[in-house]
Structure formats: C-alpha cells, structure tokens
Amino acid sequence: MDRPGAGVLESLPDGLPADVGAEPFLEAQGICKSYPGVQALKDVGITIRRGEVHALVGENGAGKSTLVNVLAGVVKPDAGVIRVRGRVVKIESPKQAAECGIAVVHQELSLFANLDVATNLYLTTLDEGSAFVVRDRRLRAEARAILDQVGLCHISPTRRLGALTLAEQQLVEIGRALVKDVDLLVLDEPTSSLAEREIETLFRIIRDLKSRGISVIFVSHRLEEVFLICDRVTVIRDGMHVETTDTGSVTHAELVRLILGRQLSEMYQAPESREFGEELLPPKLSDVSFELRRGEILGIGGLLGSGRTELVRAIFGLAKLEAGAFYLRSRQTRIGSPDQAIRMGIGYITEDRHREGLVLEKPVKDNVVMASLRAVATTLGWVLPSREMAAAKRQRESLNIVTPSLARKVKFLSGGNQQKVVLGKWLETGPEIFLLDDPTRGIDVGTKAEFYRIIQGLAGKGAGIILISSELQELVAICHRILVLRTGKFVGEFVGKEINAADILMAMTGGR
C-alpha cells in the first residue's frame, strides 16, 4: 500500500540524521473542535513516537474520544495540523486515516452481528484487490490466523458474530484492526469487556506490535494497565492537554490528581466487617449453589465463558434454567421474567448499558422511571408528570447525575452519568437484591469512586449485592466474599481475609 511519507526519512531540524526510534510517527498540534454549547478540544497536541505505547487518559467528557475520532477521520477538527512521518496530512475520512497507516478500535463495537466472524474481520478489505468473487476458503484460513493471534482459538471463523459474548466480540474487533498493515493502532478502552487472561493476550499483542516498530495509543480508565504496558502517558482534562510524561516518572496518585485536577483521598473504602442478616437468596443450580445474605457484597469472579453473566440473568428471569431452585427469604420461588424479579425486589444492571440498560432516544426522566411506571401513575394507569419529575430529581440529587436538564435525551450524557441513570432506574424500584454486571465498565475514575461508595452504602442499609466484575482489583477491594466460577462450575470461595488477587486469579484460570 502506498502511503504518504512511506520510505521517506526526514532530518531533524538541527541537521542530525533521524533516529528511527526518536522521530515521531505522528504529531498533532493545535487541534480544536467544538460542538454547539461545548468546546471538546482546545488547542490539543500529541506526539506519538515510533514503536511506543502511548496512553491517553482523562475523565469522561475530557475529550479523549474526540481526539481519537479526529485521528480516525471520523471527526473533522476546526483547527490544527496533523503530521505523519513529518508530512502534513489531511485525515478527513476513515479511509484517509487507513491510508496514513492508522487503525482504530473504538470503544463501541462496530461489528455486524448478523455476519460471520471471518466476514467481519475482512469486510473493510473486501473491496480492495481485483477479485470479484470472495474466496471463502482463503478468507477462513486467514481469519483463523488472526483469531489465534488474539487468543480466540476456540472460535470458528464461520460462527455468527452475534453468538459471541461481548468480550469475544471485542477481541474480534481488535483482530480486525490487525488485518491490514498498520503503523499506529489506537485502542479506545480495549480492556473494558475483557478478563485477566484476555488482557494478557492483548498485552502480548501490543508488545509484539511494539517490537515491530508499530505505535499504539492506549486510551483507558484503568491506570494500573497504563503503568503496566505504556511508555508514556498524556493527560487530557476539559478538552485541554495537561501533561505528557513517562509512565516511569509519575505515580498512580499523581496521575489521578492530574486527571481530576484535585485530590482523591481514597478510591475504595475498606469494607467494615459486619454481622450479616438472614439469608436472602440461596439459589441452587445444578453445579452452582450459593447464598447471599443481607448487607453482603458478594463478588463473582471468572473468565470469559465462566457463566457469571448467565447465572445472574437466570436469577433475574432472563434465562431459563434446566434445573435449580431459588429460595428468597427462605421461601422457594420461581422467577420467570424480569417483571417478576422486580416485584420480588431484585434489580439488575446489565453489562451493556446501551443495549439493555437505556432507551437512548428518550430523556433522562423517562429512563429513570422505566422500571417503576406503576409507581408514578394512578391506579388506572394515568402517568402523573409531577411524580415522574420528582423521581428523576430525586435520583439526580442522590446520585449526582450531571445533565443540563432532565428532559435531555440520555444518549447525550457521558458514560458515567448514563450508568448513574441506569442505577437510578433500579433505585426507584426499591430492591433488596442488586445484580451488578460490570457496573463500572467504561467509566472514569471519579465516577467509579462514587459508584463504590453508593454500592457500599446500599449494602450498609441491608441490601444484598452480587457484583460481577472483570476488574480483579474492584472485586478484591469492595467485596466481603468472592465466588469463583470456571466453565460454568463453582471452583472456589474466598471470605474476608482470604481475599487476595493472586489466589483468585489462580482459581479463575485453573491454577496454572
């Protein structure tokens, strides 16, 4: 592929021959972008060296995604210059970005659920080359190679993409970016749906790219990963560039302070040891039995495919059980549908808020009351706008939801605030049991801390909480007890002082 600047080495201004490692692959300067009412980027610059792994961090709404979209050709900046290998380029479409050697894996998946994996991987390249007929066998073989590279050895290229889990789909999306030769790979929150082992695979891929001189931009909220894999980090706050520094020269706490612009005294509060109340929920599945007590935060750890989400969906009436029983407050019950679950006092924050948590085109207040419509209406079903508004205001205040108006369509809120709306929706139903599936996925540091406080507050008031998370740190920090599942079976339980990341990881991965 012919790309601008390919094969051209520019001299540095002071006349020394260029050092391949030191000459930046990409330089962006003075990037500005504003939308009606908000300036997303103000004079932002970033320099990416060849073969470096460069982190881009900042709160939700700080401008990271806008910057990524500028580099991806999805958004046209109002001002600014981008240089690739020293030559000024115009990146005004994804195709032009690809011609510059930039590949982007966006946070929201852009795959086709109705097509198979192989086609998804190669869809963007199918119109290149002279072949009119798609060579199925070759396509599948090449797809096989890519799938193995991203750690999806157990997935067949002919599988329908929609049948894969969110984590598997995210790995396919990353694989798609690797199909073509790439000089800069931009990963926007790549680990948000991945568990430890998949993250390790991803890091292996990144290190491999690095050794081949390919640069990586790593956008993430997970700072511990930033320190593990990235060479340098750039902090964006309120649309402006705050700092770029080596990851070796800054501490975690300092980085957090740079991101927030203020001190965060404690991210997690250590859970107080407490006497737990009566048994709330001991479901017995054929392989999995457990109990949940009032006031307890029970974590469920496990890798992709371990059955965590299926378990929780079964509790909520969204999945059918072949065998098994639920006992709620010591009485056997059947939970056949979500509305039954809600009436029994169970609330469920799903792992994908856009797909199952929110009606994006509807305003905040509509979403807040969606699971408790009867409560804001008369007995005959007439909705009372005053009650609806009161509910929305109540949740906005108690959860600190940032939105210019409660009538604003929820799709315009930042990820963290959207998730708060989802939480608010469930709080309105007054549940005693909360099922939280990766509730802080794709949420910024500040909002995460708020969520942990809220979750612990709920437990403190007597609710029972089941928390699924791919972030081991999260589980370890706030759960009173952790169950580990592997391939659908219960393989370990850790209580109180027994909880530590290493042992849990061992149990999750089969103690290799």
Partner: protein, 312 residues
C-alpha cells in the same frame, strides 16, 4: 432551528392550505372543509391505531383488508342473515379485533416479521371478503347506519366527531398512560424495555389489537357514510394511513412519534387529495402526485433526523 425541526410539519400544513386557497377559492368554504374532514375520517381513525403500531416497531399493511372484512361480515349478516343493526355493530368489532389479535400474536409471540405477517393476513382478508360477499355490493342498511353516517351533532357531523374523539383518546393513552410509556420504551429499545420489567410481547400484541379496534371504528364509519358495502372498500387505506403517520413525524425505526403529528399528517394528505380534485387533476395523475408528495415527505423526514443527529 430546533423549533423548525419540531414544528416543521405544521408550517408545511399552513403553507399548503394557503397555497391551495389561493389556487382555488372553493377550498376555504365551510362545505368544502367539512368535506375534507369527512373524506379523511376513515383513514384518520386508522392512522391513530397505526401510530401505536409503528412506534412499537411494528407495521400493519392489512388495515384496509380489515376494514373491508369487518364490513363484509356485518353487512352480509344484516342483509342476507336478516340480523338487526346491533348484531352488525358487534360483528364489525368482533371481526376487526380478531384480525388485530391474529396479527399481534404472530408478530409478538411467534416473532414473525410484522410486515410479512400483515401482508399475508391482508391477502387472506381480501380473499375472505370476496368469498363472503361473492363479489356483490350491498346497500339499504338499517337506519342506525344512515343516522350515524349522515347525521350531525349541532354543526359537527357525527363521523367527524368520532374521528376527533379517536384522536383525543389515542393521544391521551399514548402520551399520558403507563401503557403509552411502555409502547415508546418497546419501540425505542426492546431489550432495555425487557430488562426494565416491561412485557414486550404483551405490549406489542396490544398495539396490534388497538390497530384492529380502530379499524373496526373506521369500518363502521365508512360503512355508515357509504350506506353500503362494496368489496373494494378500504383499498389503499394501508398506504394512506402509514403515509400520514410518517408525514406526521413518526419514525419507521420506532420509539418516536405523536398523535398530534399524525393528525397533521392526515390533514395534509386530506388537503392534497381535496386540492387535486378541486383543481380538476385527472385521476391517473393524482396517484403520481400523491406518491411524489409521500416521497418528498419521507425524504425530508429522513434528512431532518440526520441533521438532528449531527447537531449534538
């Protein structure tokens, strides 16, 4: 600019009326305006029901056949079976509600695509109309129908009053009740609605039954106005109703739309039809004009929503 996006159709309607009344002075006479309302009454009533369906991501092309079948059964029972007027009335609604129920059960619980389901029921329905009526027209219905179709309450024809009541009822339910919220939720994101405890299948089913109910009302009104049954009645109603709903701002992807918008859509269609007649446009050309206007309306709607997306 937002104001323009939201209220654009009202402006279009106003301009349309002004334009037509300049083109022909007959337009603004009370006789003619009453005529417009009478002519659009059946389709208008159907459009209220269809609004519910489209917001919930369903589509129903069998409404015309529904109207004809309800009338066929009722009129045949009265003219051939000698049944009294109230049996005919009950039959109209029995048939139309059952029709809606079948459409709803197939679309919601059997998960068949509603477009294909209603295409099939439309064909079956039309076939049944011919089978039951043997292709014959019937006229000379009991007095009740004549009074309903031609009578007035004060200055307002009963038929127009029924249509307005239909719109008011539809609006109240859609905009102000729990059920209405469920319809919007199911149409906006069925997965999220399900997780929020809304019974998606039940809501969808009810929307199709509602369409059936409004078809029954439309069949009654049309039969009463014509004072007769003819096998071809209701032809083209599905097209007119869906077009009116879409012109009125209800999106075909679901989750958005209002009864008020549908009312304007119905009136716009009605005024256009009326204008074409008043201006003496040949019947054949009328279809071309109507189709072109629908095309324009949907195109504008599509551009409008894409522009609105880009704004934020």
């Amino acid at each position: 600019m937002n104001f323009g996006l939201k209220y654009g159709i009202y402006l279009v309607f106003a301009l349309l009326c002004i334009g037509v009344s300049i083109a022909t002075p007959v337009f603004l006479t009370s006789r003619n305006l009453e005529n417009v309302l009478l002519q659009t009454s059946a389709v208008g009533i159907i459009a209220v029901g269809v609004t519910f369906g489209i917001i919930a991501r369903g589509i129903d092309v069998s409404v015309g056949a529904n109207v004809a079948l309800a009338s066929a059964v009722a009129v045949t029972a009265m003219k051939v079976g000698g049944q009294p007027w109230w049996v005919g009335l009950l039959l109209i609604f029995a048939v139309s509600l059952t029709f809606g129920l079948v459409n709803g059960l197939a679309s919601a619980y059997l998960r068949m695509p509603s477009f294909l389901v209603t295409l099939a029921t439309m064909t079956i329905g039309r076939g049944l109309v011919l089978a039951i009526s043997r292709g014959q027209n019937y006229w000379g219905l009991p007095d009740f129908y004549g009074k309903l179709g031609l009578g007035s309450i004060g200055p307002i024809p009963i038929v127009v009053a029924i249509m307005l009541l239909a719109f008011v009822a539809g609006h109240l339910v859609l905009a102000h009740t729990v059920f209405g919220r469920k319809v919007y939720a199911v149409g906006g994101n069925p997965d999220a609605a399900r997780v929020s405890g809304i019974r998606v299948e039940q809501t969808t089913l009810l929307c199709f039954v509602i369409i059936g109910a409004f078809c029954g009302l439309a069949s009654l009104v049309l039969t009463a106005r014509l004072g007769a049954f003819t096998p071809s009645m209701g032809t083209g109603f599905e097209f007119a109703a869906i077009a009116a709903v879409v012109i009125g701002g209800t999106s075909l992807v679901g989750g958005e739309g209002t009864i008020g918008g549908t009312l304007v859509g119905v009136l716009i269609m009605g005024v256009i039809n009326n204008a074409l007649n008043l201006l003496g446009v040949s019947v054949y050309t009328q279809d071309v004009v109507r189709g072109a206007i629908i095309f324009l309306a949907v195109m504008i709607d599509s551009l409008r929503s894409r522009y609105a997306e880009g704004l934020d």
